[in-house]
Structure formats: C-alpha cells, structure tokens
Amino acid sequence: MTFSRLEDRRLVTGAGRYVSDWNFPGQLHAAFLRADRAHARIVSINTEAARAMPGVRVVLTAADTAAAGFRSLPCAAPIPGKGGSALLKPERPVLAGDVVRFVGECVACVVAETAIAAQDAVEAIIVEYEDLPVAMTAEAAVAPGAPQLHPGIPGNVAIEFETGDPAAVAAAFEGAAHVVSLDLHNQRVVGSPMEPKGCLARHDASTGDYFVHVCTQGTTGMRAQLVATTGVPDEHVHIVAEDVGGGFGLRFNAYPEYSAIMLAARLAGAPVRWVASRSEVFLSDEHARGVTSRGEVALDAEGHFLAFRFNFLNDMGAYIAPTGPVVAVLSIRACLAGVYRVPAAVANVRLALTNSVPMAAYRGAGRPVISYMIERLVDQAATDLGIDPVELRRRNLIPTAAMPWKTVNGLGYDSGDFPAVLDKALGLSDWNGFSARRAEAGARGMLRGIGIATFIESTGGGASPDEVEARFGDHGEITIHAVSHSHGQSHETAYAELLASVLGLPRERFRLRNGDPGVRLAGNPTGGSRTMHGVGSALRVLADDIIAKGRELAARALEAASADIEFDNGVFRIAGTDRSVSLDALIERHAAGPERVFDTRSSARTGSTFPNGCHVAEVEIDPATGVVSIERYTAVDDAGNLLNPTIVAGQMHGAIVQGAGQVLGEHAIYDLETGQFLTGSFMDYAMPKAVNVHGLTIADHPVPTPTNLLGVKGVGEAGVTGSLPALMNAILAALRPVGVTHFDMPATPARVWGAVGAARAGDGRRFAHA
C-alpha cells in the first residue's frame, strides 16, 4: 500500500491553517518595539507621535500591563537545588518598563489597522535608555565583579543542582588507575521552526472570554502560563490551534507577546493579530543548548569505568523560561551514566543569567547535552588509553541480563539490549571495512573519520495523565480530541491508525482535533518524545472502553450474555457461533442518539521510557578547504514497538539532520561587548540544507518496554541525541591524525581549516572553546 498521511492532502494543496492564516472581521494588526540594546535602564518612553499616526488604535507599554494587573511570567525548578535550595526567580515583565536585559526584549506594542501601519508607528516611539554593562556568556556572568542582572540573584546564579554521590565519586577517583578529563562547549543554537510564531486574540466583552490562536505544542501548558501572567481566570482563556509549522520545544511556552496581544484585543475591542518576522523570531524565540561543561572519568587498569564526574554551566539568558530548568537538569539526572555500568557518578549543574534571549527546549532538550558529554568523554578516554573506542564501550555496557537496571543516582532503565544494538550498528555501518575506505580517501588527499555513539535518553513522564476523547458524529465520523498538539509529528495519522487497528474500522473514519476551545482535557503538550507512550496509551484505553460499550450493546442485540461475546477485527460474535454484529453497525444504530452512548473520554498515566541507540557516522574532510562531508550515517535505535515505521524514519531523518546542523554550522552568536545579536537571519545563521547528509541508514532493534500498554518508547529526539556525539567523534577521528587534539562545535569550514593549519603548526587545541 502506498504511504500517505491523513493530514497530507490539505497541507500539499495549501489548505493548512497556521496562525497567520486566520482572519476575522474587523481584525487589527500589532507590532512590537523591541530593545535595541542588551542591558539598559529605561529613562523614558514617548509614544505620543506613534499614537497620532494614521490607523493606530492602541499603544501599550509597561504602564498598561501594570494597570491590567499583569504579573511576572512564571518559572519553576523541577527538583530542589543543591542542599534543598530554591530557584531564585527573576521578575520577567511582558513589556519592559524599568530595565531591558536583552536585545529584542519587548518594550511596547502598537495596534493599527494594517500591519504596515503598526510597524511604522513602532518606529515613531522614542525610548531614552541609560546603558548598563553586559554579561554575555555564562562564564562572564558568574565571574567576580560581573554586572548583576537582577536584584536578589547574587552572582547571576539562579540555582545550582547536584545529582549523584560526590563522596563515592571522590573515593573512586582516588583509587583509579587512569583519569581522563574533557572540556566541551555545546554552543547556543536557534531552533528555527519554519513557521514564525504568531498570535491572534479575540475578546468577547459580554462573556469575558479570550480566544487565543497561537503556535502551540499543547493547550494546557500554554493556557496555564497565560493565566499566570495575565490574571485572566482559566475558564476564560481558550487556546485555539490547528496546523503548527514546527515546534521542537520552542512552541511550548507562552511568549510575553501573547499576553500583550490578549490585552491589546480587549482594549481595542477587536481581534488583534501579530505575526513575527523571521528577524523577530531570531531575537525573541527561546534559544537552546549554550552549555559549558567538564567531564571526568575514572578507570581501572583494564579500562572499566569507576566513576563519572560532570560539571555543567548553563547560559539561561536574561530570564528563566518556564521550561528552562527542566531542560537544564532532568535529562542529566535521568541518564547520568548513559548506557554504562558505572558504580559512582555525580553531576553539578549551575544556571547562569546573561544578557541574551532566555534559553529553553530545542529538540532533545538536554538529552544531547548529556549524551554529547558522555560519548565524547568515552572517546577521549579511548584515545588517551589507546583502547579501541568500540572495545572500550563493549567493556562497560550494561549487560542485557542486568535489566531492569538501577542507575547510580537511584533512577533506572526498564529495558534495553545495548550490546545487540551496538553489534547491529557495527554490522550495518561496515565498521570493519573502514580502514580500507580511509586508505582510499587518503589517496585522494582527504581525511576520513568514523565515530560512534552509544546513548540512552529518557522521555517525558508528563505532569498529568493524558486524557483523550472520542465524539461520534452523525455521519459516521469519529472525532478524537487530545492535548498533545501535532506540529509535524503526524499525530492525525498515528492516532487514527492505532484506533483503526484495534477497532477494526478504516482509519479514514477518524478526525483529530487538538486545540479545540470547546473541549477541555487534562494532558501534556507534545514534548520529550512522549506522545505515543502517553497519548498512545490513552488511545489504547479509549479503544478498549469503546469495545466494552459495544460488547454490552452487542449482547443486547444478539440476546446473549456479554461474557459470551468475543470481539475480533471490528465484529462482535457469540463465541462458537456465527451470530454476530459489527461495531460499525452498532455505531450506526446508537452513536447519534441523544445519549451519545459511544462518546467516550479515557485516560492513561505513563512514566518515562528509555529509548536508546547506537549511531555510527563517517565523515570526509578536505584539509584544503575545511569542508566536512557526511559520507555515511547509520542509526540503530531501540524505540520500543514502532507503530508506523515510515513516520518513525521521518522523525529520525529530521532529528539527525538537526544534529548535523549544529555540528556543521549552526551557531547563535552575540557580540561579547555590545550584546548585539550577530546571527539574526538565515543569511547569518547556517541552517542545514539538502546537501548535508548522504548515505543515511535507519534501522531498529526494538525491545518493547513493559511500562506502557503499547510497548513504545518514543522517537522524536533520539536522532539528535545520537548524532551530536557520533558526528563529532567522527570529525575528531578524522582530525587527530593531523594533530588536532581538541575541537568544539561547530565544524564550519573556516574553523576546521583553521584547526588543521594550527595543528600542523603545533597547536592542536586552537578551536577548543575552553
């Protein structure tokens, strides 16, 4: 059967509905004035000229948000800090009134009859600033004498986390035969979904209801944050969304602009729409990664790991984004020792505030930070000790028979078969044939390297159960409601296929509605690769609940006891007879009645799962130009059971190439002195293109997890969790023979060319961050 998704027809014909595609009668347009400097006191804001411009209806500043009772944007820490310390929360206003703390922070909002008129009026607002000194990197922010960003956050450290057993680690290091350490920088990147964020708000003055159309990964988190910020009661905030053009973590939180647009709609008495330009997206979307780290491993004489010790210093930007601390610490805590049998480990994570865009989730959300640290450290140990990197891993992998495994900080993995995953990847990548390929490349003057990463990640457990609801329409259609919002993950198809297979109905019968303001469900936004184990499990329960209802109706129709009724492939049958009635017929008879007997709400609660994999990358570097070419890439993943392998492969492709993007070029750069953002367009920020990855092989080695009904583990982020370390290990393997000993991402042609030249001149560390 040819592949196609239920969402495809509208999307390939241009009939999708993204935020900027909504229009309402009388709609007005908004534009924001943003700080043009990184740190400054606001002396005055003069909006007089702007208010007098043609078509201008409303101008908002901090005075207006204060009058409306707006509060600081919310933030929280998922676990207590070291010694039980609490997160020091910076006040984050919707519109800055006293101090601006990063270039791009919102200062004023103009509403006018057209978007162009609003933009023109923004340019007529005059702000007088008094510049303050800036702290542009985490290292600079925590240094003695650094400028202080917020009152009450001394030293710009919002919290420090510690996980693991520092005493056990210290003892292990003392008795170690070898100690290997490595400093790494995981550079700041901009997630850049292709749909720029936007918001359209409508206010109904008679009921007090707000309808807020936004790019969202799920309505529950978005609504809660808007309620916390605006003070509008929860029952009056309705999030509306249909198609969302990518998210990757950046569409989870309620950006300050969204609250401002709600207020603007109320004051203007008309729908107000704002759509960010790409320049605004670069200046105001949450950025991600930005972690400086040091890892140490202690080994015995045979190369067995005795302990890991990690220190992470996270650049959090000027404020703490709602999901920022989660991203910074949870993945590190969950997968502290990776796939290895390590008796002791500890990690320390410090969150520093800097004069830059707040940091939060981007595909992987911390998973590619810990996997990158561990897997590069393991390769460094292999190099330093002269042990083959595969052999070193094999010696230390958690054996399959030891599952379920309890990790050193008391958490654990339920299932996995790491040695088999490794073997499969070695076979598919023809690891053993590499030396011949290297020799052939060498004859052409090229540097060829192969790199491996054996990794594990923890998927999101979810803050609440996931509820789903089925509503049966009058024409046989079944509408499924869920919170977790699709922004490319093919939920519409995956949900329908899952229900269709259990209920024995064609998948075309099912429609999906996320973000329907008329249906309030508990549940979690899309994130942490959790939708299929969370919502998927709820759908499985839903299907069983529908079958149970059908069984009662079938028993009545067939005049039999319900205990005697079997259900198979859409048909209820009295066991051992040929007397039957189809689910479809029962739906037709009963679903449309006033009691809507088939309408069902079900839920499930799942915990984290542990997708894992082994990725092997092979690169070729032209030492004359510094260009890195990915020649082969093999990914073997244990994502548990796969529901739709084509969709799964698509998720892997996208995530691997996002990883390749960070490895080869993506880098969000601020000027260290002025705090201006230097990579604010697709001309300056190197997005991956079709040219980047060749010879991709995707394979699976499923070990179903016993922790949910479907045995699925999740697949959204594994590609990037594996590709950062696998690709960089390959690049280092190619560069070591010419004398490069250390190299930090990104491996742009200029940096690689420079590193080769510096190494030949005797400096193997020129392009290391630390």
Partner: protein, 160 residues
C-alpha cells in the same frame, strides 16, 4: 496607491495596494490565498515560492506592482492546473505525500512549487541537480531525505 491587475490561478484579479506591497502580501491578505507561506524576511526560506509567468519566484521578493499584467500560479492552483476536476493531485504533490516528504507542512507549498519548476527545466535530474535545485528552500522537519526521494519519484511520474 496603485491598482494592480494580474491573473492568479487562471482568474483575473485587480487590487489597490501601496507601492511597497509585496506580491506575497497581495496573495495572502488581499486574495486570501494563504497556501503561500512567509517564513523569513531575507529571501532565504522559499516558503513563499510561486510561479510568475511560468518561472519560479519567491513572492516575498517581488513587488506587487512588478507583477502587474502577469500570470501567477500558487499552490492552490497547482492541482487544478493538472486535473480541472480536482479529483487528483499534481504528481509532485502526490509524490510528496507518498514519500513522506512533509511533516509540519509549512515549507511544503513552497517546496512543491519550486520542485515543479525544477522538473520543468530539468525533467530527469540527478542527485546533485536536485540538491542544487532545493538550495533556495529550507525545511526544518524532514532533513530533506524524503524530499529528495519525492523529487525523483515525481520526475519519473511526470516523464511517464
């Protein structure tokens, strides 16, 4: 203000616009053809790609007044241009769906319009020509793997 008359998806239209108005705004805001997307402000992403007198252009980089008198085709007009009954998709649209060459779909209309143009000029492209042909279009979701596959499949469907 200028009055601009043009043909869009086979229909004659006329709009009054400020001289600085972009073709993309006319399509989206004046004509309600929201399948043409805006993904950037520096002519890099290609989400806004349409055909102008049969040539592939980024509609965010053409002033509406420059398009006066021209014939524009947007994503909404592609399937009908292939099958006026509306029953079947254009082979490029079909190939994108069958090859899973779209995830969130935001880049997709622009990709499809660009590929349709590419295949008109280069009916049997090799891998390098496809990669080169996609240089002006960004996709954040698919890693381009299945887009390249879809171009190959569409090329052979169109040659058949």
């Amino acid at each position: 203000m200028s009055q601009v008359s043009l043909t869009v998806n086979g229909k004659a239209v006329s709009v009054d616009v400020e001289d600085r108005t972009l073709l993309s705004s006319v399509l989206r805001e004046n004509l309600g053809l929201t399948g043409t997307h805006i993904g950037c402000d520096t002519s890099q992403c290609g989400a806004c790609t349409v055909h102008l007198d049969g040539r592939v252009v980024k509609s965010c980089t053409v002033l509406a007044v420059q398009a006066a008198g021209s014939d524009v085709m947007t994503i909404e007009g592609l399937a009908p241009s292939h099958d006026p009954s509306g029953a079947t998709l254009h082979p490029v649209q079909q190939a994108f769906s069958e090859c899973h060459a779209l995830q969130c779909g935001f880049c997709t209309p622009g990709m499809i319009m660009a590929v349709t143009g590419l295949l008109k000029d280069t009916p049997d492209p090799d891998e390098q020509q496809i990669i080169h042909g996609l240089e002006g279009n960004l996709c954040r979701c698919t890693g381009y793997v299945n887009i390249v596959k879809a171009v190959k499949q569409a090329a052979s469907a169109l040659r058949a």
